[in-house]
């Protein structure tokens, strides 16, 4: 994985904490991981380039889980930090946007 997705994932976490109105700070550790501290749980997000399945590893209070994309990382982080979160499943409208 190149550096850009990691930097942008860090920025996404910063903006997400603000959007969810959740306390905490987001930092890059010396080994390049994204670390969220001062929140309800301690979270560490590592890029996992050697793994063919998961691009990220998310460690929450010591428990490791893989995430297939930054979208999966975001879901895990929100579930850990935002107790009121209930995901909405996207639905595709049946009516056409314009007549066929």
């Amino acid at each position: 994985m190149s550096e850009a997705p990691v930097d942008l994932a860090r920025e996404l976490m910063v903006q997400s904490l603000a959007a969810w109105r959740v306390a905490g700070a987001v930092q890059r550790s010396r080994d390049g991981a994204i670390v969220i501290c001062g929140a309800r749980k301690d979270i560490r997000i590592d890029a996992a380039p050697s793994d063919p399945m998961f691009r990220w590893t998310v460690t929450i209070d010591g428990r490791k889980r893989g995430a297939i994309s930054v979208v999966g990382v975001l879901r895990q982080v929100r579930e850990a930090l935002d107790p009121g979160y209930a995901a909405s499943r996207v639905r595709v409208a049946l009516t056409p946007l314009v007549p066929y």
Binding site: A4, P5, L8, E11, V70, S88, V90, Y100
Partner: protein
């Protein structure tokens, strides 16, 4: 194209904001003939039907509850019945429908119902959403009533009413409307009188020209109208570079997943990398999205992607950061990193 696909528009606005007065005048205009009207009134005694002074057989009143929460199934049943009667020649042959919501109704669930119900799919196409705002009490109503803000925020067009009582709209009211929905044109009704053509031409599909008017429908404002501490915000995500289909899909899915009811409305035109000559038009209400509609060509020389967001407590910077993170990851994967 199917010959009998009917545009359906929503007339919304807070209690006493002049919806029924406008509808009463519209029903007397020749340009508004061949329109079926559904009125939803919240209360024990329904009066609006009497006030509009119409008794056409394509005029239905839904009472006993509010459309947005209690009687959505009644709405679908009513729409089905009206379409069946029209097809069977048992009522006036309308070619447009308008729903006047109750003043307390949230228009978003009504839009969702129209988008997702299998029994009316294919027969109806979303027209515009028109919101009335009373210039006498509108400013205080917008300050006090969340539902009033939502009605304005979701609208494609806003109509100022009661100007005869209060004179021109106060700058503070106009400023508030702009904060809530900068893109929507603000029209005025003179004692309820307004041209039906300019009012209900707010949708993407123009039934008269049988064409798509994307620029008018988007009515985008390039600047953000987000305010500090404002719950409802409108802003536009603009991207000069084409957007990959995978990025767009992941982005919309994630918005729906995380924003849900706070994504009041999203509409946009997108330069999809895999389809450079045929832009995609996208539309979502809360977590319900249309499949993209593919235009035959770009409506202007501007080939940038423009996505208009109307949200509640969803910061613009979060939306931008989400898009950038997904886009960078998809780009990374596509080159095998």
């Amino acid at each position: 194209m199917q010959a009998d696909v009917i545009p359906i528009s929503i007339l919304t606005g807070f209690l006493g904001s002049g919806k029924t007065t406008i509808l009463g005048h519209l029903l007397r205009q020749s340009g508004f003939s061949r329109t079926a009207v559904i009125i939803n009134e919240f209360g024990e005694v329904a009066l609006d039907h009497e006030l509009v002074g119409a008794s056409e057989d394509s005029f239905i009143e839904l009472k006993t509850g509010c459309l947005c929460c209690k009687i959505r199934t009644d709405l679908v049943q009513t729409l089905q019945d009206m379409l069946q009667r029209r097809d069977a020649g048992k009522c006036s042959p309308f070619d447009r429908m308008v729903i006047e919501t109750s003043g307390l109704a949230d228009p978003a669930p009504i839009l969702q119902t129209l988008m997702t119900d299998t029994s009316i799919a294919g027969r109806l196409v979303l027209g515009g959403v028109v919101a009335t705002v009373d210039t006498v009490t509108g400013a205080s109503t917008l300050q006090r009533e969340d539902i009033s803000q939502k009605q304005v925020a979701i609208a494609d067009k806003i109509v100022l009413t009661k100007l005869d009582l209060n004179g021109p709209a106060e700058p503070a009211l106009l400023r508030r409307l702009r904060e809530l929905n900068a893109g929507a044109p603000v029209l005025s009704a003179d004692r309820g009188k307004i041209d039906s053509q300019c009012l209900f031409s707010a949708g993407l599909y123009d039934p008269h020209a049988k064409s798509l008017d994307v620029n008018s429908w988007l009515a985008e404002e390039p600047r953000s109208h987000a305010r500090h501490n404002a719950d409802i915000q409108a802003y536009t995500l603009v991207r000069k570079e084409p957007i990959g289909a995978v990025t767009l899909t992941l982005f919309l899915e994630t918005l729906a997943e995380h924003c849900g009811a706070d994504l009041l409305r999203l509409k946009g035109i997108v330069n999809v990398a895999e389809s450079p000559d045929r832009p995609a038009v996208i539309h979502g209400v809360q977590h319900v999205f249309h499949a993209p509609a593919w235009l035959k060509r770009w409506p202007s020389d501007d080939r940038s992607s423009r996505i208009v967001f109307i949200t509640r407590r969803v910061p613009q910077r979060w939306v931008e950061a989400l898009f950038e993170a997904i886009d960078a990851e998809v780009a990374d994967v596509s080159v095998g990193r």
